[in-house]
Symmetry: C2
Subunit: 376 residues, 2 copies
């Protein structure tokens, strides 16, 4: 993997860059649609490419390990061949899911024991086997196994958790560096900064992570219940330390405004279930503000879903029709809203990149952040 | 509307023809995907055109009247403008749904009183207002209001029901002929043959319907629980009477084999929820037989869903991936299976047409009917 910085904003920490992987280039800032079990919910792989214009998608180690399982993925020749997505894939390590989804998890030095949320079967994730599993999945970017402590953790818990994550990181790196990709393309490994809402811990973690000198770095454990200002402060603290010449990935964040603020703090990569999950519930993000498409006011509004939208579906379907689909419980409603929201998120990061390149990012960001919160 | 017969099969009653409407031509035999509330479940209108290659779709008066309601549809300028489908639409009259879906229905000479299955609100459908509603929906082909008696009705009930349907038909025709389309294209009106499983009643009904001399005729009240042989016998009896120079529409039928047998008995038009409903449950129809995609045997079968399939999705996705989507409960699974099944149904009627035109239909049909029932 390679990363080139094209442009740094003069009025913020925002940057425009480009990651190169064996599955193609990824212009940054970038948003990664979440394909938890190997499918971005409700969206054909072709529409993901042509309508959403996704440049990289995210898969989930925890989910893919449980279903379809690594035997099937190995026989398929990896996730790209299995789901038909030819561009880059990043896999989350499963750390977050073990702590948020699985049953009866037990944290040990060795790793995390847990029971599947599907059938109660017992498993263990270790820093080593999580690398092995991601080798089989064949993600272009694979993530270290970490513990993600709750947003309201006290200092002592957060510190112990961070130290465990650091010890796990060294073991993960050792496994990664002593193994080879299973398929005919390269893989890279990102460590994850933890430290909850404590600037001192975040600094300590960022230094530890930066010292590993990997090809990219991630910030985890944010947007897990802490106030937004704390999240922004943590990003700022961490990005002062993480090297400038490597991509920075803020995991699991967030609203369109969160993304713009984090870009202005020097983040390059994002993922979040919000555009698809909220879309399935009838919430649309647009450059003019937020639409609750179930609202009575759209009942006979026959204007396109989003006249400024990037996807063909934004113009083919009207607000009134989309509302009707949601009210009638038709699955096409969630499908359309998911594509719209993801294509809006892609527009957002693309426009941010354009504004950075032309030196107008900060002013544009300040205005957009207000606009994005308007309820239409 | 116009209908031209291109070719009659020498060894059966099968025919190849062409219907012309103001929304374009429809080659027959044809299958009409069911878009109950104005959307074919799970399928973007663009994929319906490009992947399924649908030539006409069906909407439902009962459902559309309840949601979004005729006010919205009138303001939209009709269903074509509302859902973005530019080719012909046929609307079912609502008769079948009033008797199968609604609550506390009460049959009177005037019409059918019923309570909405959605909110319990009270409504009445009459032969006249069902024409008016379909004028507002703006279907190219609108259907008469009929009573559809249960498959096991006794002779007396079936006779009374048929006679009511005939009286309703005369009222519907009067309303249709004394009103004009609301939009800038023509509409036509099909009467419906009833008579349950009784050849005498079917003959009587077919004569009554044929005598109305409309531009096309439908056969209703079949595939409602009676044995298949009875259904085929009724079609045969009726088609001996319905005029040859007008399209014949067999309502709500059926399996791929049912469709081929009915084509060989002289039917031109079909609709059925089976390809989408069964698709959503993981059942795939193919030219080699039936696939239950949830079956363990497809777990690591990475061959395309249907190598002979007509849709691009048949080749993009593998059986193993589609199985995984169903097992993991991903909505993309039902989406893919629905497109596959509909595009298979379209292939089936298109191939039947080709075989009719080259004089090989009967032999092909005999072989296919066996093949279609194989469990893969």
């Amino acid at each position: 993997m390679d990363f080139v910085l094209h442009k740094k904003d003069a009025f913020s920490k925002a940057r425009a860059g480009e990651i190169t992987t064996d599955h193609g280039k990824i212009e940054t800032p970038v948003f990664m649609p979440v394909g938890t079990v190997g499918s971005v919910k409700g969206i054909h792989v072709r529409d993901l490419e042509q309508e959403v214009r996704a440049r990289i998608i995210l898969g989930n180690t925890y989910h893919l390990y449980l279903r379809p399982g690594i035997d099937v993925l190995r026989k398929a020749g990896g996730l790209h061949k299995f789901n038909g997505w030819g561009k880059p894939i990043l896999t989350d390590s499963g750390g977050f899911q073990v702590f948020s989804l699985s049953h009866r998890r037990k944290l040990k030095e060795e790793g995390a024991e847990f029971q599947s949320h599907i059938d109660g079967s017992k498993h263990i994730f270790t820093p080593e086997n999580v690398v092995d599993i991601q080798r089989v999945i064949g993600a272009d970017i694979i993530m270290a196994f970490d513990e993600c402590p709750p947003g309201d953790s006290d200092f002592n818990y957060a510190k112990k958790s961070m130290e465990l994550t650091h010890r796990w990181l060294l073991r993960g790196i050792e496994r990664f560096d002593s193994t080879e990709p299973l398929y005919d393309y390269g893989q890279t490994f990102f460590p994850i900064v933890q430290g909850a809402g404590f600037p001192d811990l975040r600094r300590q973690s960022a230094e530890f992570i930066a010292n590993q000198n990997r090809e990219g770095n991630a910030i985890g454990g944010l947007a897990v219940g802490e106030p937004e200002e704390v999240m922004y402060e943590m990003i700022q603290v961490v990005n002062e330390i993480l090297p400038e010449d490597k991509p920075r990935y803020l995991m699991g964040v967030g609203t369109p405004a969160n993304i713009l603020e984090a870009i202005s703090l020097g983040v390059d990569m994002f993922d979040c279930v919000m555009p698809t999950r909220n879309g399935r519930n009838g919430m649309l993000f647009t450059s003019k503000g937020i639409i609750n498409i179930r609202n009575e006011k759209w009942k006979d509004d026959f204007s396109p879903i989003d006249p400024d939208g990037n996807s063909a579906f934004d113009l083919i379907y009207s607000k009134a029709y989309l509302r009707h689909l949601f009210i009638a419980g038709e699955m096409l409603g969630p499908q359309i809203a998911s594509i719209h929201n993801l294509s809006f998120y892609m527009w957002l990061v693309d426009e941010a990149r354009r504004q950075i390149n032309q030196g107008t990012f900060f002013e544009w960001k300040e205005q957009m952040v207000k606009q994005l919160k308007v309820r239409l």
